[in-house]
């Protein structure tokens, strides 16, 4: 019995070995260092000096921008991610046929994701939402008033949200891969049983896709929390107007590289880690209720 276990362990660790080693070297040590920074006053240019939990304290009690950025980020995540996933799943289902034109559509929908992270796109996006930009022209054509997207914090945040949703292509790809993995026999069998498409969706597609849905939800949430480049470019690094686009990681960046307060920024990062961990934990815990794995032995 014991030797079986040992053999299992050996093989197991051989497989995950690269991750373990990489983690220890490239993640654990730097992370420990950053945890240390978070309890120091460190400006990158001189040696850190220990100040205990002061960074964390002033973050929660003394920093209105911290709360502002949290609020903006939460809005961004909890509106953007569901929208994005819904679009991704919907379009993936529509595109999940073998017709030739679909290949073209698939590329077109994925295109925004490919170019999305670049500076050029963010600049272009700003322009679309300009006072004379295409979005306003479109609104006017529908008989609506132009919106001053750069004047109102809420409106400005929509620029970021729509930019994120526009790039649903990456999630869509993953859903497509998942949809392809559903054995057609299941659908054929249900056809024989006389099931309609709605029932097929809820009884076959969703359950078979649920591990992928969980994956996408978690990844999109985490990614959304860490969004930086669009906010940086669209607000020219300021997070404006009136902190309307001050996403958490933009604020963190400013603390670290503009105000030279690396200690505080490190503390902010650890706080964000805890928030994300809690959210992910919740997602995982509730996943037992609705996620279905074909293989046994889930976590």
């Amino acid at each position: 019995m014991k030797s079986l276990s040992l053999k299992n362990n050996l093989i197991g660790y051989t497989f995950i070995g690269p991750f373990v080693i990489g983690f220890l070297i490239f993640t654990l040590i730097p992370a420990a260092a950053s945890l240390y920074f978070s309890v120091t006053d460190y400006d990158l240019l001189s040696t850190p000096s220990f100040i205990g939990f002061e960074n964390y304290q002033s973050m929660f009690t003394d920093d209105s921008k911290f709360w502002a950025s949290l609020k903006v980020t939460f809005l961004y995540v909890f509106i953007g991610v569901p929208l994005r996933l819904a679009f991704a799943l919907f379009i993936a289902m529509i595109l999940n046929t073998a017709s030739k034109a679909i290949g073209l559509y698939r590329t077109v929908y994925y295109l925004p994701s490919i170019i999305g992270g670049s500076v050029a796109v963010s600049i272009m996006w700003r322009n679309l939402y300009g006072d004379e930009g295409v979005i306003n022209i479109f609104l006017n054509a529908l008989g609506l008033d132009s919106v001053r997207w750069f004047a109102e914090p809420a409106a400005a945040l929509w620029m970021l949200i729509t930019l994120s949703v526009w790039q649903f292509g990456s999630s869509m790809l993953i859903f497509l891969a998942g949809l392809k993995n559903i054995p057609p026999e299941l659908y054929e069998a249900s056809n024989v049983d006389g099931a309609g498409s709605i029932i097929r969706f809820f009884k076959i597609t969703l359950p078979m896709l649920s591990p992928i849905i969980l994956f996408n939800t978690i990844m999109q949430t985490i990614g959304a929390f860490m969004t930086f480049v669009p906010a940086y470019i669209i607000s020219k690094g300021e997070g404006g107007p009136l902190d309307g686009t001050l996403l958490y990681s933009l604020y963190l960046f400013r603390q670290a590289f503009v105000y030279f307060d690396m200690g505080y920024a490190s503390a902010m990062a650890w706080v964000m880690l805890i928030i994300i961990a809690i959210l992910t934990g919740i997602l995982f815990a509730t996943s037992k209720k609705w996620v279905h794995y074909e293989s046994k032995g889930g976590h």
Partner: protein, 446 residues
Amino acid sequence: MKAPKKMLLMLMAFALVLVSACGGGNSGNGNIANSTNTPKSGNEVKEDTTDAKPVTLRIAWWGGQPRHDYTMKVIEMYKAKNPNVTIEMEYANYDDYWKKLAPQAAANELPDIIQIDTQNYSQYAGRNQLADLTPFLGKQIDVSDISQNAIDGGKLGDGLYGINLGVNALGFNYDPALLKKAGIDSIPENFTWDDYVEMAGKAKAAGLYFDNGMRAEVFFGYYLRTLGKTLFNADGTGLGYEDDKMFTDFFGMLAKLVIDGAVPSPDVLAQIKGAEDSHLVLNQGIGVWQWSNQYVGLQQVANRPLAIAPMVGPNMEKGLFLKPSMFFSVSENSKVKEEAAKFISFFVNDIEANKLILGDRGVPVSAKVKEALKEVSTEAQIQVYDYVAWAEANSSPMDPADPIGSAEVFKSLTSLAEQMNYNKIKPEEAAKKFRDEATAILKKNK
């Protein structure tokens, strides 16, 4: 079968990685030849001896394409005169540059020569990342043609941590034709804030913006100087003015102009991408309040004659100052400080080099260079030289460098200005808020 193929790929990849990791490639070896690792004692390198030891200099700067191009040529010139020197050039655009510099400092990997602007100057100098250049003055760095004023621009405390590459002065860059269109013949000499508001009103009546606003973090300091005060106190531990009425007067006036429509609102300004987008270029605004070194670029894009007017009075001379546009500093951990100093001296004094630089980094500080450049400069550039020369005679010494924490203070100021311009907060309230926030930030410097 797919599996063996993948194995092969994986093996190939590992092999590639091993090769590049062990062989080091060009980049790895370049790092070892890096100046900061070659042991050189301080006194070895002397001036212009034909059998001088080989030296490697790392120079870093930010800028756009034109700047990169001519700077590389200047470096070639220097290498031609100093064949024993190898120069490794590191350049990027403004944002990336700063993001890279701080970690380099943290890891003691700063380049030998660093370009720095006044915004980040105190941070790096104050934390001993920059070498004190005072010992090099008059020796490796020739300052015989440079005014003391210009040199002092790089002073922090008792030390000199950067050489001024060129000076700037604030002014009103405007289109005289558009000015006339608004019914104003010319900007009066010694014009005051009241005159300014009046002119703005006329502009609005003619359907033009008068200017595109005064950036709070730049011009509030100017205003305070005209009143004999400063934004930061002498040791950077607090604000330099006690009377909040100064704040209220200044920002009240500016906010009113925005709310009344003589000056664009923040969201309109936020959408401007660059000079080609500015209201002046599009014939919608008369002028821009900005630094003199931005004049040439603006004029080029506008492609018509523009003019520079001085700042607003009363007491303009007290307010106006010459600001170093940027410095070349030497990093404290550089092992080749003398050579670095020599290069900087060359950059600032050599006439042929400056014929390539052409004041892109500010009006040259060497009087000889300025004279020589006049022959090869464009009309717009000469306008700038003349203005800065005039400003030199009509200004007072600049304030000490912005203290540590200034970035945060400026952010607070610009935030409040934004709110005032959107009419979301009254200037009186903002004055008090600013004082509270700034004091909290600055008292950490005590």
